[in-house]
Symmetry: C2
Subunit: 363 residues, 2 copies
């Protein structure tokens, strides 16, 4: 170590070199400038003469200086950390979304803290509190139900900037969100099913209470059915997409007026339903059609490819971060606090109708 430092014996061999001990003060000393100038050379280079900045950077490299973000964060009262709360990563939708979030954040110098809520409002509260303690500058999150969410109310109360992903903000709700138009896109999907000749279409979903998106998609399903004078069937709510949907699907298919098509409110569910159908000896799409929702990459990989309503998942994440960053910037500058009008940002969806959707069998 180049400079004298008071004896602070490492607690053990194992962290003798942790963080290599070089502070900005050491760099300043080596570059023969003040601590302030050294700091500026990094944070505000335009305030420092070119040659001075160079000296500082050289010294930093020589000493293998690694800035301690903690000090910076504490002092500047902004962490440049964004909190992210997603229901789970085990559904590829959210994993794809994370990719977009990570890319934009790191590219703009923001750090991330990720937590998952497991679709559980109690856990949502706990995880958000956790993020708040880390003093994240803002959050990107997906909640169970944006319309009545303790977590969102709290965030509003504390004036924490956040942007919802997947949850669709109410038109006049004053909240920011990035999603597709859940209801309209679901309606379009079901329209495609109807256009293919289906009349008995069943909706399969997870628990409605766990997902406002599922309810909105259900509404879209009803829109489409009603618009064509078809009776909506009672929704099939599965506890989870893990198992035992077989019995429910089997019972449904045993009846006389059995559906000729299923609209599943997410792709994982759709894949499960297709398997159930196969186990019942039914062929997809020849005997029964299945339409999913999400557009996860895996859907295009399977054979036949999964017909689905495609969301731009990565883009949803990326856009949510960009929007959040814009809000953060607006909050800092005195002008234009309302630069970004609150509201739902709707990204375009697409229909992939092929593979698992075909005309109903002659009956």
């Amino acid at each position: 170590m180049p400079t004298f430092r008071p004896a602070t014996p490492p607690q053990s061999d194992a962290d003798a070199e942790r963080g290599n001990g070089v502070t900005l003060a050491d760099v300043a000393l080596a570059a023969e400038v003040s601590l302030a100038t050294a700091s500026r050379a990094f944070s505000h280079p335009q305030l420092v003469r070119e040659s001075t900045a160079q000296r500082v950077h050289d010294a930093a490299r020589r000493l293998a200086f690694r800035p301690n973000l903690l000090g910076a964060k504490l002092r500047s009262q902004q962490t440049r950390i964004l909190g992210v709360m997603l229901p789970t990563l085990e559904n590829a939708v959210f994993a794809e979304c994370w990719a977009g979030i990570e890319e934009v954040s790191l590219a703009t110098g923001y750090s991330l803290m990720l937590v998952t809520s497991g679709y559980d409002p109690a856990r949502e509260r706990e995880r958000v509190e956790y993020l708040l303690r880390h003093r994240v500058d803002g959050m990107v999150l997906t909640v169970s139900d944006a319309a009545q969410s303790a977590v969102l109310d709290q965030l509003d109360r504390e004036l924490v900037p956040y942007v919802l992903a997947y949850n669709q903000a109410a038109p006049q709700g004053g909240r920011h969100s990035v999603s597709v138009d859940n209801r309209a896109s679901a309606c379009e999907g079901v329209n495609a099913l109807i256009a293919a000749g289906h009349r008995r279409i069943a909706l399969v979903s997870g628990a409605f209470v766990a997902s406002d998106r599922a309810r909105q998609r259900h509404a879209g399903y009803e829109d489409a059915m009603r618009a064509h004078g078809l009776p909506p069937l009672p929704p099939v709510n599965l506890p989870s997409h893990t198992a035992s949907s077989g019995a429910r699907i089997g019972a449904l298919m045993a009846g006389a007026g059995r559906p000729t098509a299923f609209f599943c409110t997410n792709d994982l569910l759709a894949i499960g339903v297709i398997s159930d159908l196969k186990r019942l000896g039914l062929r997809v799409p020849r005997d029964v059609s299945v339409l999913g929702y999400d557009g996860i990459a895996l859907g295009a990989l399977v054979e036949p490819p999964l017909a689905t309503v495609v969301q731009p998942n990565t883009d949803i994440g990326a856009t949510a971060v960009r929007l959040l960053l814009k809000r953060l910037a607006a909050a800092t500058r005195p002008d234009a606090v309302l630069a970004s009008v609150p509201g739902a940002t709707l990204l375009p969806h697409a229909l992939r109708v092929a593979g698992t959707v075909a005309a109903p069998p002659e009956s």
Copy 2:
């Protein structure tokens, strides 16, 4: 606000209340104790009289005090943040692993910072540097190639505690890892294929250079083949599991000595290959068998279920964190620095041979 504080006008309306401004000093004042006592009431309750602690906690609740972790971290020189670097979350293997990591970490009061490397060594270095700047106490990570990894060398040099997940540490390498026995488990899987009657078994993998696990599994494949006097076929290395594996598989299946079974070094690949085969008009497992590797949840969902070598993904993550925490604790206490012997922790794998694996067709 209960106490006087110098005028620090909020930068804008938008963050007037951020962090609600209450500090531990405010709490101490309200509870009529010193700052130190207030701190102890939270961090070391056993050093404080019961009733005093109660007063502090009451005051904290009354003021809606939220500890600022930044201050604590900066001062105590340990962040209680763990860095996590995984190749991608879009492969469910790692998403499942994350679930285990998150659960154990948050339960033990540790925070997480996640980055993905995309199997790219250059990006690995950049992301690790990023984690280091955040002064993470330790890391759980999966690298492309543990045997020659710039990132791991750096971590070793800087004495940063870390535990590998999925990468299997060399027996005498001095590194810590949590994984299954890649080679032995792959060998077992291929043995099962051979036991089912297959003799021409092809291995399908991503780029070997991007994954030491893939190479180890390939070695296991060769072990099994050789042990039965069968000639290993040249490996089919696919650039990615996204697309166009169809041509390669098609060419392979066109030849006379075409394989009757495929061993894919991961489940996603296996699902892709099954689709390719179906598109060629072949039935799985009747015409061709396919064995995967990973045991992602989705594999059990599809029909027929994916035969595969099952890794305990969530447990790999959970165990890696526990091991890391143990090392961290050992480093703090003067005694027993070598409490945890470095080495590869091998978790049990399982074989799920059904569904997509059957006897080869009579030919």
